[in-house]
Each structure stands twice: as structure tokens, then as C-alpha cells.
């Protein structure tokens, strides 16, 4: 076979791979949206889920997903960005730094179910938080921290050295330079990364199974006192999130309309993740334009 023919065949195979990849996305999204959108209705989004009857909604699960996400982000973003700043600005090459780097790497590649088991052992049992929003958010923090650290470090490393040198030349301390010059400059890329990671946290399920629990008390959306057991804001109540709900309905659900609920929930989940993705892109673009003065 001449090399030209081989060339042609091989290149078409490669194009085929790319087409398969794009095709898979189109098929997945198409399938989820076509099947799911029909079962999304105002009623579905705003009514409580039912344990054995048809016609349940996902109001509480949807709220729980967002609530756990917000708590996780409140915990992760400050710690993660400072950790990233440490690695980008303060860490000197040496044993300690490489150890911290390995720790970040290990945290990033641990299976989420292992993180869930750890959360069950430590937050749920040892600290007696029980199956709660807080336990879930802490477990997800372990899981999300390395992502934010990396995003921050990359953001800082992509800045040009002139900015830092300028700050230091004015006689600012290192920390002041970081706070007033470098952090604002790196902010857009960090923000984009945070929003993208939010999508991941939003869809996470295995780590939440053993920490946030698989049930939700019937929430009273008129009671916003965080200490009340049925308050949506209560940190110490169990909280089944949307993705856990999809799993639970499919594996142990006895409601007659499993298909509808599962497809509808999946569609809501995917739409949210897509929105996070679009938001990150749009924000990145807008901020970039503002910074480069082309608005």
C-alpha cells in the first residue's frame, strides 16, 4: 500500500474519531433534552417529591443542590485561592513544596466515593454533624479544593512579572502587592475556573450519598430561621441533592413515574451545568474585553 493511500485512510479515521466525539455530545444532549424537557413543568419544579405516588416534583432537591453548592463555595473559594497563592507566590522549591503539590494531586485524583466515606467517618460520625448539608459541603470541599488551588495558581502564573515588580518597586510589601495588584489582575481567570468547578460540584453525587444523606425533611419555605428543623436554611438537616435523587429514584424508587422524574431531573441538571459553562465563558469574555479596553 502506498504511503499516500495509508495517509488518506489514517487521516479519515482520525476525522471519524473527532466526528464520533462531537456525535456523542450531540446524542447525549439531544437525548436528555428531548426526553426531559417534556416532563419539566412549573408543577414539576415547584412541588415536593413523593416517595410512592406519581406526580412528584423536585423542588426540595433543586434547592438542596444550590444550597450545598453555595456552602461549598463559601468554604472552598477563600481556602483554595489562598492555597493557590501560596503555591504561586510563597512556595520555595524544596521538599515541603513538592509535598504540598503531591497532596493537591492526591486530593484531585481520589475517587469521590472515597471522599464520601471519609466524610461519613469524620464529619457525620466523629463530629456528629449527622447526614447534613454541612457534612455534604465539607466533603465536597475536600473534593473541590484542589481544583480551585490549580485554577488560582495558573491564574497567578499567567500574569506578567512587570506587575509584581512594579508593586514591589513602589515599596509595597509582598502581601500588599498580592492583595492590591496581582489578585485583581488574576481575578477573571480565577472566576471562570470557579464557575466551571461549580458545575462539577453541582452534579457530584457519590460523595454526597454518605454525607448529605438520601432524604430531605419536608421543607417549609416560609420559615427562614436557620435553626428550625424544617427551614430550608438549616445546615444540620439532611439534604438529598438533585443528582442523588436521580440515582435513588432509579435504583430503589418505587414511584410509578420513575422515567418521567429521572428524565426531568437529568434535564434540569444538565441545563444547569450548561448554564454554568455558558456563564463562565461569557463572563470571561466580558472581563477580558474590559481589561484590554476594547469594550
Amino acid at each position: 500500500m502506498s504511503s499516500k493511500v495509508t495517509n488518506r485512510i489514517a487521516l479519515s479515521l482520525i476525522v471519524l474519531c473527532a466526528v464520533i466525539m462531537a456525535g456523542i455530545l450531540a446524542a447525549l444532549l439531544g437525548y436528555i433534552l428531548v426526553n426531559g424537557v417534556t416532563s419539566i413543568s412549573w408543577h414539576f419544579l415547584t412541588s415536593e417529591s413523593s416517595t410512592f405516588q406519581a406526580g412528584g416534583g423536585i423542588k426540595d432537591q433543586l434547592w438542596n443542590s444550590f444550597y450545598v453548592l453555595i456552602i461549598t463555595m463559601i468554604l472552598t473559594v477563600p481556602i483554595g485561592t489562598s492555597g493557590g497563592i501560596y503555591l504561586a507566590e510563597y512556595a520555595r522549591p524544596g521538599k515541603m513544596t513538592s509535598f504540598i503539590r503531591s497532596c493537591v494531586e492526591v486530593l484531585a485524583s481520589l475517587p469521590s466515593i472515597v471522599v464520601g466515606m471519609f466524610g461519613m467517618l469524620v464529619f457525620v460520625d466523629y463530629f456528629q454533624f449527622h447526614f447534613s448539608v454541612l457534612s455534604g459541603a465539607l466533603a465536597l470541599t475536600v473534593f473541590n479544593l484542589p481544583v480551585i488551588v490549580r485554577v488560582t495558581e495558573d491564574g497567578f502564573r499567567s500574569l506578567s512579572l512587570h506587575q509584581k515588580e512594579g508593586g514591589l518597586a513602589l515599596g509595597l510589601t509582598h502581601w500588599h502587592t498580592i492583595k492590591t495588584i496581582l489578585l485583581p489582575a488574576a481575578f477573571p481567570s480565577i472566576l471562570t475556573g470557579i464557575i466551571l468547578s461549580a458545575g462539577r460540584v453541582f452534579g457530584e453525587s457519590a460523595a454526597l450519598l454518605f454525607t448529605a444523606g438520601m432524604s430531605t425533611p419536608s421543607l417549609d419555605f416560609t420559615n427562614w430561621n436557620p435553626a428550625a428543623p424544617t427551614s430550608p436554611l438549616n445546615l444540620f438537616r439532611s439534604a438529598e441533592t438533585l443528582s442523588v435523587h436521580i440515582w435513588a429514584v432509579n435504583t430503589s424508587g418505587i414511584i410509578p413515574d420513575i422515567q418521567t422524574v429521572a428524565n426531568g431531573s437529568a434535564a434540569v441538571l444538565v441545563i444547569c451545568v450548561l448554564l454554568f459553562n455558558l456563564l463562565a465563558r461569557a463572563l470571561g469574555k466580558v472581563i477580558n474585553q474590559k481589561l484590554s479596553g476594547k469594550s
Binding site: 504511503s3 499516500k4 495509508t6 495517509n7 489514517a10 487521516l11 482520525i14 474519531c17 473527532a18 464520533i20 466525539m21 462531537a22 456523542i24 455530545l25 436528555i32 481556602i79 489562598s82 492555597g83 501560596y86 503555591l87 507566590e89 510563597y90 509535598f99 497532596c103 494531586e105 486530593l107 485524583s109 481520589l110 475517587p111 466515593i113 472515597v114 471522599v115 466515606m117 471519609f118 469524620v122 475536600v142 479544593l145 484542589p146 488551588v149 502581601w175 500588599h176 458545575g199 462539577r200 452534579g203 457530584e204 453525587s205 457519590a206 443528582s243 442523588v244 436521580i246 440515582w247 432509579n250 429521572a262 437529568a266 441538571l269 444538565v270 451545568v273 450548561l274 454554568f276 459553562n277
Partner: protein, 322 residues
């Protein structure tokens, strides 16, 4: 002098305390000094927290996972190699803890998923990095990012409603089998592998390609003989990262694999993995009992194997840098 002092004291709204410090910038220096320390504490604290997290996870899971050997006196060797998992005496009234079917299931799913995902992912990476850089950047990059973002339960749900019925119709049985699990996970890790592989191909210097074209190599010869070998170990890293994700995946696999306690005899038999047995049984056992302890041991095995994956990846990257 006296008058002067009185005037200052009576001046409304002005602080009587020294403005000298502020004027000379001494106070600012002092405050800045504290803020420097404060900032450092915050930052060093977060780095420390990361170490604490890793050490705590390893320590707690190890201690809890070793209970079944230390407290319950289960033989380590028979635990790892035994093929009968019978924690509630349902078969012949004899309790036995043989975790091999799950270890085997996990490895089989991981390897099969890698076999499915690697060719497509690498092909896609080559397309993005070599053939159509503009198009790859503008179309495939977002595709990959969105695919990475789709939650794993959604992959599981699609597996359950599409792949399982397909298996049932074409290969008989219940449709829940090893192959279905591997397919779902294979599709899941596809985007991860593709994006890392594309990065490693892009890192190959252009001079190598130009040299190959200069001696008359075709595009394919350049890719196959020059670019891929040059990217070699980073490509392997991409595949192993994908495998480590496949290994740790829990719920998506659990929804389609069938979850039996027995060894599968072919890829069309239902099976179970370490993660699926943990997710399924954890809620049914009471803390501190032997059936609960052995689940933690399975978790420990999971942790150990993911550490092995991390070590392999580190070794590959060290060899690359050396």
C-alpha cells in the same frame, strides 16, 4: 503655646491624638506589617489544611479499613483472593468474605473502558492538535468541556435507558452486564483522556514536524512516527488518568452493571465493582459490625489502588522531566 494647645483640643471633629505617626507613614508601616503577617498566616494555613486533609483521609480510612483484619480476625489472604462474598449467610448458612469478584470487576471495567476510550480519544486529540487547529479549538474544545461537565449520574441514567435495553435485546439476559458498565465509563472518561492527550500533542515542538515533512513524510507518517512517539509518556499519562477516573467511578457503573456477588464468566454477565458494593451495602449495615467493617476494607483497597495510579503517573512525569 498654651493657647495653641487649647485651640487644638476645642477644634471639633479632629482627633486630639497624634497625627504625627500617620503623617510620617509610621502607623501605616505598622499596620502593613501586621497585614503582611496576617496574609501569610492565611496563606500558609490553607496550604497546611491541604496536607491535613490528605493525611486525615489516609489515616482514618486505613485505621477503619484494617479493623476487619485486626478486630474481626479475617484472614487477609482469603479476603483478597476468596471468590465468595456471603456476608449475610444467604447461601448455605456460611459467612464468607471473598472480595476478589469486586476487585476483578473493578479492574475489568477499568481496562475495558480504557480499551474503548483510548483510540477515539487519541484520534480526537490528534485531530484537534494536528489536523484542524482552528476548528479543534473552536468546536471540539467546548464539546470536550461540556462532556466533562455532564454529571456521572446522567451518564448512568442514559446507560440504564439506552445501553441496558440494547444489551437485553441483542445479547440476552437482563441487559445489566460488565460490558454495559465498561461502555458507560468508557464514554465518561473519553473527554478527559482526549483533552489531556491534545495538550501533550500540542507540547511537541514544531521543529520535529518540520523535519519530518522536509524528508518527505506524509502527514500520517509524521503523526505516527514522530509526533506520537515524541508525546509518548504524556499520552500514557492521559490514558492512566482516565483509567484512574474509571476505577473510582461509582454511581454510573452501579446503575448498569447488575451487581451480583459472583464472578462474571463473560463480559455479558452481570458483575460488581468495589465502588458499587460499597454504595449498595453501606446503608444496610450497622456501624462496627463485621459486614460494615469489610466494606471499609474495600474502601481501603480502593484508596490503595488509587494511590498506585497516582504513583504510576508521578513516575511517568518524572521520567519525562528527567
Amino acid at each position: 503655646m498654651k493657647i495653641n494647645r487649647a485651640a487644638i483640643a476645642q477644634a471639633p471633629g479632629k482627633s486630639p491624638k497624634p497625627s504625627l505617626l500617620r503623617e510620617k507613614g509610621l502607623a501605616k508601616g505598622l499596620i502593613d506589617h501586621y497585614s503582611e503577617t496576617r496574609g501569610k498566616i492565611v496563606i500558609y494555613g490553607s496550604a497546611l489544611l491541604m496536607i491535613i486533609a490528605v493525611v486525615a483521609i489516609t489515616l482514618f480510612l486505613t485505621v477503619q479499613g484494617l479493623r476487619s483484619f485486626v478486630v474481626d480476625h479475617i484472614n487477609f489472604w482469603s479476603f483478597i483472593t476468596g471468590t465468595t462474598w456471603n456476608p449475610d449467610q444467604s447461601i448455605a448458612g456460611k459467612v464468607s468474605y471473598g472480595a476478589f469478584p469486586f476487585i476483578f470487576g473493578s479492574l475489568a471495567v477499568t481496562l475495558l473502558a480504557a480499551v474503548f476510550a483510548t483510540p477515539v480519544a487519541v484520534g480526537c486529540a490528534v485531530f484537534m492538535a494536528e489536523l484542524a487547529k482552528k476548528w479543534g479549538q473552536r468546536v471540539l474544545q467546548p464539546v470536550i468541556e461540556i462532556l466533562v461537565g455532564i454529571p456521572s449520574v446522567v451518564y448512568g441514567l442514559i446507560g440504564l435507558t439506552v445501553i441496558v435495553p440494547f444489551m437485553r435485546v441483542h445479547f440476552g439476559g437482563s441487559g445489566f452486564n460488565l460490558l454495559a458498565g465498561a461502555l458507560v465509563v468508557g464514554v465518561m472518561i473519553l473527554p478527559t483522556v482526549a483533552s489531556i492527550a491534545a495538550d501533550s500533542l500540542r507540547a511537541v515542538p514544531d521543529t520535529l514536524r518540520e523535519a519530518s515533512y522536509a524528508i518527505g513524510g506524509t502527514k500520517w507518517q509524521t503523526i505516527w512516527r514522530v509526533v506520537i512517539p515524541a508525546a509518548g509518556s504524556s499520552l500514557v499519562t492521559a490514558i492512566i488518568l482516565g483509567m484512574s477516573r474509571a476505577f473510582g467511578e461509582a454511581l454510573a457503573v452501579q446503575m448498569v452493571i447488575g451487581n451480583t456477588n459472583t464472578m462474571p464468566h463473560s463480559i455479558f454477565d452481570p458483575a460488581a465493582t468495589l465502588t458499587t458494593i460499597i454504595t449498595l451495602s453501606m446503608g444496610d449495615t450497622t456501624a462496627g459490625s463485621i459486614p460494615n467493617d469489610v466494606l471499609w476494607t474495600l474502601g481501603l483497597i480502593l484508596l490503595v489502588i488509587s494511590y498506585i495510579f497516582i504513583l504510576i503517573i508521578r513516575m511517568l512525569s518524572r521520567r519525562r522531566n528527567a
